[in-house]
Symmetry: C2
Amino acid sequence: MGRAEFDFIADIRRRAAIKPPVIVGIGDDAAVIQSTCAAGEVITTDMLMEGTDFLYPQTSAWEMGRKALAVNLSDIAAMGAKPTAAFVSVAFPQSRGEAFARDVYAGLEALAHEYDVTIAGGDTNSWDGPFVINVTLIGEPLGSAAILRSGAKPGDVLFVTGAFGGSIRGRHIHFTPRLQEARRLLELITPHAMIDVSDGLAADLHHLLEESGVGAIIDATSIPIHSDAEAMADNVPPLRHALGDGEDFELIIAVRPEDVARLTNGWDLSTALTPIGYITAERDVLLQESDGRQTNLPPWGWTHEWAPPTE
Amino acid sequence: MGRAEFDFIADIRRRAAIKPPVIVGIGDDAAVIQSTCAAGEVITTDMLMEGTDFLYPQTSAWEMGRKALAVNLSDIAAMGAKPTAAFVSVAFPQSRGEAFARDVYAGLEALAHEYDVTIAGGDTNSWDGPFVINVTLIGEPLGSAAILRSGAKPGDVLFVTGAFGGSIRGRHIHFTPRLQEARRLLELITPHAMIDVSDGLAADLHHLLEESGVGAIIDATSIPIHSDAEAMADNVPPLRHALGDGEDFELIIAVRPEDVARLTNGWDLSTALTPIGYITAERDVLLQESDGRQTNLPPWGWTHEWAPPTE
């Protein structure tokens, strides 16, 4: 470890406030976490690579650092949990020098501060390859247990937060992880199942349904389509963007029928919460279109051959 | 996520036995760990990059996967802990195909199985860059608390496991993390402080001393020098290899004077356990050479100008 690297890590350590459940942070062979949460801890990890998950300099160092934490915060939200501690491993391109590294950490630390996350450990490297960052994030369930993908039951109503499609226009970098929404949700009810949408609305719906061993009927007309999907100007129907695009980082939530009124009456956040269908015992995943026709909804998110307008 | 990637992850998931403290493993937005360990949990992470931490194909895919877990196991040993759950993020070079990816996991899983570690989560990617792997490893202290770097006190005797220097001849890849040694140590005594040697014996000794706010006097003649250091045939004195090389993955242990007899009498493992010096209140780090002279031992591990024999 060179002197510059040591100073850089010493600075991160100085800025990282150690608070429960973290009792030992950066500076030892490992961190020590002493959680008093009876529901256990949730742990998620995501690796982002330049050229795949973001382009530089189109995406700034600050934004890349922020996104690396944000995608993990979205996973913690989907477990019905609050984040506590982050572990950050990086391979910085040597050629970009220390300013790049500092900007990455500044973006990450700003978001960590916003959500009260302690940066408790990590591994800082440099090399002649592209920028790579891995964040492992720990959290604690807000309720008596984590909300899994596998708990959905026939009859459950499927809700989604926010709107879908066209995230490539900027939301794939600048999204707000749905931690506040998960917290309000857990105050009102205990959902049967939850997942965040990273692969795409249809794809992640499939993941939830597969883990639960159930199917669903989705009402095409009720899917909230983001204005970014309308603005794509690529002649692809906005609904297809909404179902297939991915990186929306919204939540899909399976709610017991008897909890629906309490949830919708109590929901007081500005983020939309929209019912889009319901769980079935039959394992088919069906999209009911505006004409009443039901077609299979595959994971990639569209249901029939589509051709661009030919005028 | 493509079909091949999905199948690949499904296979890893099938092979990963879920057992306490892991209650939810691969297949959700996060894993769930419910530890009953009163001492809390220790968490460490390391990122290894091809070209920096290993060369391919000189180091095989299997060996790279094994090393990625092994370096983290070494950190867990240095906390006086046993490992429980691993989270594995990878960026595989697309050009090497699935066989490479399977070999990496086979190497990692073999070591995980040996030490009863559950692969509880991860993130699998491919790209056109070099191979990158990050492992985050969770563990539980074997005693009533984790053993930190910061607990060394004046008068403590410094012990080391094994022997040092010349790890580049193969031990930097094939080393055995000192988990068994840490377990036996904790059965016999409670050390004041511990660290594993990755940067080098002198460098990691400095880390331990800095965190503890103390100094040390090291007896140069007592440092166990590995036969690999003797075999380097580069005209560098073996002692300098032992002090400076790094990647030995041995333990440095600070032991209360009143515990020394119990430790040395009770030590029944084949791994050598050698006293190399003692802790001082003065913060200097001194190497006492065979002629009785004391010189400052800097983190890079040698004490005076050295010139190759000129015969």
